[in-house]
Subunit: 269 residues, 3 copies
C-alpha cells in the first residue's frame, strides 16, 4: 500500500469552502459549525423536512448524525439523503449510540441501504452496524477500536462505504485497504462533540474529493483532526481551554507540521 | 446628517438589562445568549407555541431568526410577533438564507406585513426581501454589502423598518438616512452565530430605545459589536480564541475606546 | 448538625463516570455536556419519546430542565421519569421560569407528584413551586435566595425531595437539615447555562450516592461547582474567558483546595 498524499485534501477544503449540510444532534450543532469553519468549510444546518431535500442538492456533501434522533428528524434525513444521492453528492453516517437503542438502530439499518459514502463511529457502533452483538452501556465507546477492525471491513464490503472506527487508534478501511492512525489526545474525549464534528469534517473532505478518492479523503480528515487535537493538547491541559486550542489548531495547521506529526501505518491482519 | 450619539444606547442596555425574547436557530442559541449577557441584556428563549405569546408580551423586544425554521417554529414565531405588536414591543427579523429556499422565503415575505422594527441580513438576503433576484449558492453572503444599499433603502420604505445590511462595511438605513460603518474583522465570519447574535443585540438596543430612536439604536448596536470584534482580533488571531475574546470585549468596551475606534460615514449615493 | 464529608462524592463521580440522561433546554445542551465531562460524568441527551424511557432505565440519573419546554418534550420527560422511577434511579427537576408561564408551571406541578430526588431552582422558582406568589418579570432570579428558604423547606417536606435554592448564597434542605453555602462569583450569572448545568451536576453526584446520602450529595455538587466558579473568577475577569476557566477548574479541583475554599454554615432560622 502506498501512503496516500493527505494534506492536499485540507488545502482543497480551504480553497473551495465546500458547503456542508449537517443534520446532526442538538448538543453539537454549534461546535460542529465552528469546527467546519475552522477547517475552511461552510456549515449549514437546514433542518425542516420542507427544505432539507432542496438544500442537500445544493450542498457539496451531507453529514447525518443520529445523536438526538426523533421522528420528525427521520423524515428530514430521508429527504436529504435522497436528494444528495440524486445529485451525486456524498453523504456521511455517524451512527451515535446505535446498538442498544432500538429506534435509532432500526433507522440506521434502513439508512445502510441508501449508499452512504462514509460511515464513522466508535467500536461498539461499528460492530453493531456490521451485525455483531452490542455492548451493554448505551453510548459505550470503551470497546477498543482494534476489536472492530474486522467488523469495519465487513461493513465496508457490505455497503460499499468507507468505514472509519475511531478511538485511541483510528482505523479507516474500504474493505481492501485498511490504515491505522495513531495521533490524537485523550482530551478529545473530554469535550463534547469532537467525534460528531469529526464526521462533519469527513463530509467536508469528501465534498472536495472525487468518488475514487473517498478512502484517502477520509484518512486525511481523521489524520488532520487528530493531529490538531494532539497539538492542542500541548497548548492546553484542561478541557475548557483545550476546546479553544483545538479550534485554533484546526484553523492553522500547516503541511510541514502535519507531515512531522503524522503517525500512520498499514493495518496488517 | 448629524452623527447620532451611539454609546448611550449601550449604557442603557447595561443599566436596564432588557429582557430579549429570542426565537432563533438551533446552532446559535447558546452563543446568542452569551452575547446578550455580555452586552448586559437578559436573554430568554421561550420556544413553545403555548408560551411564546405570553412571554413576548413581557419581554422588552423580540428577535426572530429563520436559520433552522420548521413548521412548529413558524407557529411560535407568529404568536410571538402578534403578542409583541399588541404590547408595543419592537421585533427584529433576521432572514437567514432567505432567497434560494422556498419555505422560509415565503414565510419571510409573510412576516414583512407584520411591521418589523428592524431587518438585519447580508446583501443577498436583503436583495431577495426587496424583491430582487437571489444568488445561487444558498447561504451566500459573498455579495458585497454595497450592492444591496439600494435594496435596503427600498425595503425600508416599503416596510417602515430600519434595514441593516452587514458585511465588510455595514449599512443602516431608515429609507431617508443611510450610514456606513467600517469597523469589524474578517474573523467575525469564522465563528458561527456572530451575525445571528448581532440581530439579538440589535433587539436589545431597540428594547431600550424610543420608537423614534430605532435607526440610531440599530447603528449603535452594529457599531458596538463591530468595534468589539475589531478589538478582539487584536487579542486573538485564530477563531477559537477569537470567540472568547469577542465575548470579553463585548462585556468591557468603554465609551472612550468606542469613540476612538468608530469609523462611520454618511452613505452618499 | 455535623458537616457532611463532601469531596468524596466528587471522587466517586470521577471514578465511576455515571451516565447522566439530560432532557434539558436547547440553549444549554452543549455547555451542560461539557460541564458533566469536566466533573468526570458521561452526558447523554436522548430526546425522542421513542427512546427516552429505554435510556433512562440504563442511565445512573436523569436531569430534567424545563427551560424550552414544548409539547413533544413533555411526553419524553414523562416517559423518562417513569422509567427512572421504575429502575430506582434518581431524577432531578430544574423548574426554569416556573411561576409566570402557565404551560410549564402546570407541567411542573404535575411532575412534583412523581417523586423527584432533588429540586434545584432560584428563589422565585422555588417560591412558586411551594405555592407562593411568583414575581412579575418572567425569568426573574433577582429575588434573594434567603427569601425562599422557608418555601424550600416546605417544598422538601411536601415532596420528599432535597430542595436547593441557588443565588449569591445557596441553601440546601431536606426539610430537617438546611445548610448555607457562600462560595461562587457574580460571573457565574454572566454565562448562560451555569445554573442549568449545575442541576445536571447534582444529578451526577446523586447518581453515585445512596438514597440516604442525597442531601449530602446535593450539598457537595453545589459546593464543588461554586468553588470552581470562585476559583475561575480569579483566573478570568470577563465572561468569555471565565466560561473557559470554569470548565478547567471543574476538571481540576482537588480536595485540599476544595477544603481551603469552602464556606459553609448551618442555616439557623
Amino acid at each position: 500500500m502506498l501512503a496516500p498524499d493527505l494534506f492536499p485534501f485540507a488545502m482543497r477544503v480551504r480553497e473551495r469552502a465546500p458547503l456542508i449540510h449537517c443534520l446532526t444532534n442538538l448538543v453539537v450543532t454549534n461546535f460542529t459549525a465552528n469546527v467546519l469553519l475552522a477547517v475552511g468549510a461552510a456549515p449549514a444546518m437546514v433542518v425542516a423536512r420542507e427544505e432539507a431535500a432542496e438544500f442537500a442538492a445544493v450542498a457539496n456533501a451531507l453529514s447525518v448524525n443520529l445523536g438526538t434522533l426523533d421522528l420528525p428528524q427521520t423524515k428530514s434525513i430521508r429527504a436529504a439523503i435522497d436528494a444528495a444521492n440524486q445529485a451525486g453528492k456524498p453523504w456521511i453516517l455517524d451512527p451515535v449510540a446505535v446498538g442498544p437503542l432500538r429506534f435509532r438502530t432500526e433507522f440506521a439499518f434502513d439508512l445502510l441501504e441508501l449508499t452512504p459514502a462514509v460511515i464513522r463511529g466508535n467500536a461498539s457502533e461499528i460492530i453493531s452496524l456490521a451485525g455483531g452483538a452490542s455492548s451493554g452501556r448505551g453510548v459505550d465507546s470503551m470497546a477498543l477500536a482494534e476489536s472492530a477492525v474486522d467488523a469495519a471491513q465487513l461493513l465496508a464490503m457490505k455497503t460499499g462505504a468507507v468505514v472509519a472506527v475511531t478511538g485511541a487508534t483510528d482505523y479507516v478501511t474500504d474493505g481492501r485497504r485498511t490504515v491505522a492512525l495513531s495521533n490524537g489526545s485523550a482530551l478529545m474525549t473530554r469535550v463534547t462533540g469532537v467525534g460528531c464534528a469529526l464526521s462533519a469534517t469527513v463530509a467536508a473532505f469528501a465534498g472536495v474529493a472525487d468518488e475514487g478518492e473517498r478512502w484517502a479523503a477520509t484518512v486525511a480528515a481523521i489524520a488532520y483532526s487528530s493531529i490538531a487535537g494532539e497539538l492542542a493538547a500541548r497548548d492546553a491541559a484542561l478541557p475548557g481551554s483545550f476546546a479553544v486550542a483545538y479550534l485554533d489548531r484546526l484553523a492553522s495547521l500547516d503541511a510541514a507540521t502535519f507531515a512531522a506529526t503524522l503517525v500512520m501505518g498499514e493495518h496488517v491482519v
